[in-house]
């Protein structure tokens, strides 16, 4: 771990001002991801701005039936919030499928969105990794890549985004609220928030250096049954091999509304719009779900150890849709 300086920000504006004033500053929220990476010198901030006590913990109703999750709301509190549980059960389920109770008590919404990949070579500083050292090569290609991406990967990086929460948020069309150094705030749809690796896998999101996530805004959820299914080797406390988040509304024998997102399959939480297009307006059936799953994974590419994830993702998606579509 490299030496760093530390300050605690008094409010959001002070936090972004502090970040703008220092080179190589980073925000620290729960620290559950950042500190591990700092110990291994994968992250090397010279200055930490502690935002964990900023007054951004609240979960507030939005006009029109949406919900605004403060960036500092704890993962555990968010999962337990009655409004989240009744209106966005997908989000609650996804949060509870993640990490452990102790970690969820520390982890924040903002930190969860920006947690970094669990690619083993990203953690092994003796191995080449374009995400750590741009241009250094990617050890996972041709290496042990059971946990790696099957969609949207590039020759530079095949890592996955490990967040469960973000899969749910992706299906729920969330937006991220950001505060810039100048004090100006902007909103970015989560769909546009994450980047594919392409040739710059070290750039993972559209967040500018020094920009602070202040909230995640959920629009009113469409009617329909929501379901999160995470597949993993052990029953808890493991990142997803694949996960699916679905929302399905069937009215009078046709699919009125459908949302499909996949986790553990790509560099970002993966919204499967092709699958949604297959289903929308169609009669629900296992065949239709199968067609949707085939569409979602049509461009999937295995890298060896992760080949099975293509079939696994399809099966899991068909099953989740089947369960969500039951009368």
């Amino acid at each position: 771990m490299k030496a760093f300086t530390y300050e605690r920000a008094a409010d959001a504006r002070a936090a972004v001002a502090a970040a703008a004033a220092r080179a190589n500053a980073k925000f620290i929220a729960g620290g559950t991801n950042l500190l591990d990476l700092m110990r291994l010198e994968i992250e090397q901030p010279a200055h930490l701005i502690d935002i964990s006590r900023l007054p951004l913990q609240a979960i507030d109703d939005e006009p029109g039936g949406g919900l605004r999750l403060g960036a500092q709301a704890r993962n555990s509190d968010t999962a337990a919030d009655p409004r989240v549980r009744t209106r966005y059960p997908l989000l609650s389920q996804a949060l509870l499928a993640g990490a452990s109770a102790q970690l969820r008590n520390k982890a924040s919404i903002g930190g969860n969105l920006l947690q970094r990949t669990r690619c083993a070579y990203f953690y092994d500083t003796t191995a080449p990794c374009n995400k750590r050292t741009p241009g250094g090569g990617c050890a996972a290609i041709g290496g042990l890549n059971r946990n790696h991406a099957i969609l949207g990967a590039s020759d530079a990086c095949i890592a996955t985004n490990p967040s469960d929460m973000a899969v749910a948020l992706m299906a729920l069309d969330a937006e991220v609220e950001l505060l810039g150094a100048t004090g100006a705030s902007r909103r970015v749809a989560l769909r546009d928030f994450y980047l594919l690796p392409e040739t710059t896998p070290h750039i993972e999101t559209v967040v500018h250096p020094g920009e602070l996530i202040t909230a995640v805004v959920l629009p009113r959820a469409p009617a329909g049954r929501q379901l999160y299914r995470k597949v993993r080797d052990r029953a808890s406390y493991e990142f997803a091999l694949v996960s699916v988040g679905v929302l399905l509304a069937v009215e009078k024998g046709t699919v009125e509304e459908v949302r499909v997102a996949l986790g553990g399959v790509a560099h970002k939480p993966w919204r499967a719009l092709e699958a949604e297009a297959v289903l929308r307006g169609r009669a629900p059936s296992v065949a239709a779900y199968q067609a949707a799953a085939d569409a979602a994974l049509a461009r999937a590419v295995g890298r060896g150890h992760n080949d099975f994830k293509i079939e696994l993702a399809k099966r899991t998606l068909v099953d989740a849709l089947t369960k969500a579509g039951r009368p």
Partner: protein, 739 residues
Amino acid sequence: MIGDPVPRIDAPKKVTGTATYTAEVWDAGQPLYGWIVGAAIGHGRIARLDTARAEAAPGVQLVWTHRNAPKQHEPDAGQISYARARPVLTSAEIRHHGEAVALVVATTLEEARAAAALVDVAYEAADGHFDLAAREAHAVEPPMVQSGLFATRSKLGDVDAAMAAAPVTIDRRYTTPYELAQPMEPPACFAAWKGDQVTVHTSTQIIAAARARIAQTLGIPMEKVKVVARYVGGGFGSKLGVQAETILAVLAARALAKPVKIALSRQQMFQLVSQRPASRQRVRLAAGRDGLLTAFAHEATIQQAYGSDFVEQTAACGRPLYAAANRFTTHRVVSLHLPPGGDVRAPGEATGLLAIESAMDELAHALGLDPVELRVRNEPPRDPESNVPFSQRRLVECLQEGARRFGWQRRRATPATLRDAHGWIGYGMASAIRTHFQLATSVRVRLGPSGAAVVQSDMTDIGTGTYTILAQTVGEALGISHHDVRVELGDSDFPTSAGSGGSFGAANSCNAAFRACRALRARLAAAAVADPLSPMHGLDPAGATLADGRLAIGHASEPVADLVTRLFPSGVDAIGDVADGTAEPSYKAYALNTYGAHFAEVRVDAVTGEVRLQRMLGVFDGGRMLNRATARSQLLGGMLWGAGGALLEDAPVDPRYGSFAARDLAQYLVPAHADVPEIDAIILEGVDDKANDLGAKGVGELGICGAGAAIANAVFNAVGVRVRDFPITIEKLLPGLPR
């Protein structure tokens, strides 16, 4: 009292944080902190070294590499491996990924770690051998297995001929991956010198081995080294010998004339400790239609590090297990440029029984015979290889009692025929067997004038309950409450034990303590009958008993406290010893093992192939239990370890780099709480009078033995897919899942 489920006497200290573990020791004042720099390649040499930046970093006191580290002594291969010298930073050669190439000592841990990253090492990588399967053709039979405790091979009759003649045969290959012990407490050392004497607090299972290793590496007399380990946060074999952290802390503390503390990080524990070697096994079975085995063959090929002589006894566990006239077992090793393999809980059985007991299930299936019945039919009357009688052996009782309690009759004989809403349900079972060892151990018991006792030994309590069982044993033997027994362990000033390992610690140390108590009783009785003031004056001391705090001969008795106060005003003590099993006639005349039977129910998700353990039961025969609660904990923990071996644990090597790719517990998976189902361990009460005075054996490893195979067999029963490459993960089941 012996056997009672007495709660651990050290539990209050542990739950209040006052049990001091090595890295928390502060006795000698503020220490300096060391950090080990590991090699970034798997094989080759250091081409260039620059330590200038590290040396100039804040707080740095010392930077060592092979160029300037103190000269150390080379190991003497004649000694047991854990006690041999273990020199560190000796040459530019890199023998495995992560091997120590530098040490940085600084004022704070953070400074040491930051400076460690500034040590600039350039390597000249060479092509290494990292792939066991690819090198299998180079396998050789080693001269010794497990330091000579087992023969490399055994042969009786003609297996090939029996295979050719039998109506039903099984010839299968199984593989098991590298596994790591990963105790909660990392290896750590705190070393402080006073003149030419060093006190070494180190997290170890065997104090005497640590002491010998340190003394020999430094080339100093053993008497100059005091080793202390009062509390050890698990070892599972990984702490049988101390490693680089201890040697380097001792050397640096001497060089700097200040206490030095070094602990390994979790990542370093994947490189600097030792792993259970990966194995490739072949099992052949031949049987008549009646299920009676005519041949049993087990061949194990395992990884070995170049320069290491560690060989796990993988193919030894089947030797005493089932009857069969024609038998063959052997071990082969393949040298690779990986860290030296080492003992990990239940070495031999953990992987060997996965293969044998899977093969037995395959045979039962091929015969259309119940797997329990197959095993019962092949129960041998005597040890089938050494041809000596067994001491107590109740394997059949374990099998039958387990089957009854588990509801085994509900099992479907045809795989993939039982389903519920979530998936396929399967039942599986396997036998358990574990060799029993006895190793030389001494324990001192001292009675003070108050009548309270103190027990002293360098025996360790690695979280298993040693403190408690010694208090119980001594309490019973002296006729006092265990509350009046103080147990002091883990200090090389105390009598020497064999430490904790190989499931021998409990029986060794409790029998030695028991003998010390008997010697004490004899001394007290002799003194009493010679003392005119004693009511026992002139009686025959041979019939003396100790109970309720009194020494009695016939109807005459006297409080022990009075006797001690009067006749031994400064207290009285005695040392009890047990000898090495090789010196005990009964260990030659009998085959001594512990036994059990595992039963498992799994559910395999019909969609995803995820395997979830639903229920598990073990029934065990391990001689006399010293504390039924701590014994049960060991057995349950072992069973779950077996579940990890069957379903989760895997440290794959990246053959391009020669490294274990994933080096943390988020990626190296062991069962989490949610994976623990309804589980129970039933202990058949018994006394093995061939083992020792108390009739006790050990159960620290028995729970693992065969547990994984019961689960693997349940998976087969659930979905009809036989996975022979462990662990059984989703990708291996998915293609064959029933529709």
